[in-house]
């Protein structure tokens, strides 16, 4: 084989044909080279795979804004993914708390559904020039493949662009935030049939 390859360029045509024929029969005689080559390719593929990929795969990457679906009402809301917020919060209009039940509406833009949910706690807000107490309720929503049950504070967020802020209390649940993207994870909870 080696000699043949070295002399290929200078040989006459007829000689070349003979050589090629002999080459073909040789490789047919030695089919061991084919599986060996395949195995080599497979091994190099495994070695080339970046390490720790499986581990990173468990984390769910979300963008800076994601659509989530409120359960059980199946209202889709765009949510700001906010690593700067310790807790999550929901835009609640016409909010009234009576007998420990918070009654409010979602913003008109998202169907102004009226909800009444039990208040599970109060959050004190300290800010430069005012003190405030906001009711906390529990909601369930679907973000990407995950059904998330979480506490959210209720307040009128009409000055802010997104009706739902998802803070670190939810994102600690193995999420990774990539600000280069938004809406990279459409809601797809197995428990929730798509509308």
């Amino acid at each position: 084989m080696f000699v043949e390859r070295g002399s290929l360029g200078q040989e006459s045509r007829s000689f070349l044909r003979i050589k090629m024929v002999s080459k073909q029969t040789q490789s047919q005689k030695n089919p061991v080279w084919v599986p060996a080559g395949l195995i080599f390719l497979l091994v190099s593929m495994v070695l080339l795979l970046p390490p720790g990929r499986g581990r990173a795969g468990e984390k769910i990457t979300v963008g800076e804004v994601e659509d989530v679906v409120l359960i059980p009402w199946r209202v889709t809301l765009p949510a700001r993914i906010d690593t700067g917020a310790a807790t999550s919060s929901l835009d609640a209009r016409e909010l009234i708390v009576r007998n420990n039940i918070a009654v409010f509406r979602l913003p008109k833009k998202y169907g102004s559904l009226q909800l009444s949910l039990p208040v599970t706690g109060w959050q004190k807000i300290r800010s430069a020039d005012f003190k405030e107490r906001r009711p906390v309720v529990e909601i369930t929503f679907c973000m990407g493949p995950k059904l998330i049950q979480t506490q959210v504070t209720l307040n009128d967020r009409s000055t802010v662009s997104y009706p739902l802020i998802i803070g670190r209390n939810v994102l600690k649940n193995n999420f990774v935030v990539d600000c280069m993207h938004s809406n990279c994870l459409p809601p797809s909870c197995p428990e929730v049939p798509s509308p």
Partner: protein, 163 residues
């Protein structure tokens, strides 16, 4: 038959190489936590930063802020050495805060985060109410970071030419 097989395996291998290179470029992104220590350059002041995907722009806690034509003078918080800085104003920005609209001067800062230096725009505001003197917002994070919310202080500031 042999030639077909080898051609096929070559094709598979090439596709795989392309896939790996694509993944590698996605992995070039630096993973950081929800708070990180950074160095302010060239002064080498170490500041803890809040990594805030909820903030559109980065901002720095600037005390005793005064304006001198196209420059702005301020102090870093006493807790971080109280260094007095004077920087050119790049622009003025209306910033939407939880309390309404505010007009803030914007300056350019160089910081060391992890093993790299970055130049980025930050707006200046008295943030004495807030826990972190530096907020790194989306204008910075879009450069090449992903935030792992389970982690804090995931990378140490360690730029080769800064000690």
């Amino acid at each position: 038959m042999v030639r077909l097989l080898s051609l096929f395996s070559l094709a598979v291998f090439t596709a795989f190489l392309l896939f790996v290179s694509e993944m590698a470029s996605a992995e070039e992104k630096v993973t950081i936590g929800t708070t990180e220590d950074v160095f302010l350059l060239p002064w080498r002041v170490k500041l803890p930063a809040r990594i805030d995907t909820g903030a559109a722009k980065s901002s720095l806690d600037a005390r005793e802020l005064t304006l001198h034509e196209d420059r702005v003078e301020f102090r870093l918080p006493q807790k971080y050495g109280g260094l007095r800085l004077s920087l050119p104003i790049i622009e003025w920005r209306h910033v939407r805060t939880s309390e309404g609209l505010e007009r803030r001067p914007v300056v350019e800062l160089e910081i060391c985060l992890g093993s790299e230096r970055f130049r980025t725009l930050v707006n200046l505001a008295d943030r004495s109410m807030v826990k972190y003197p530096l907020i790194l917002g989306r204008n910075f994070l879009r450069e090449n970071f992903v935030v792992d919310v389970k982690r804090r202080r995931a990378v140490k500031p360690n730029c080769p030419d800064v000690r």
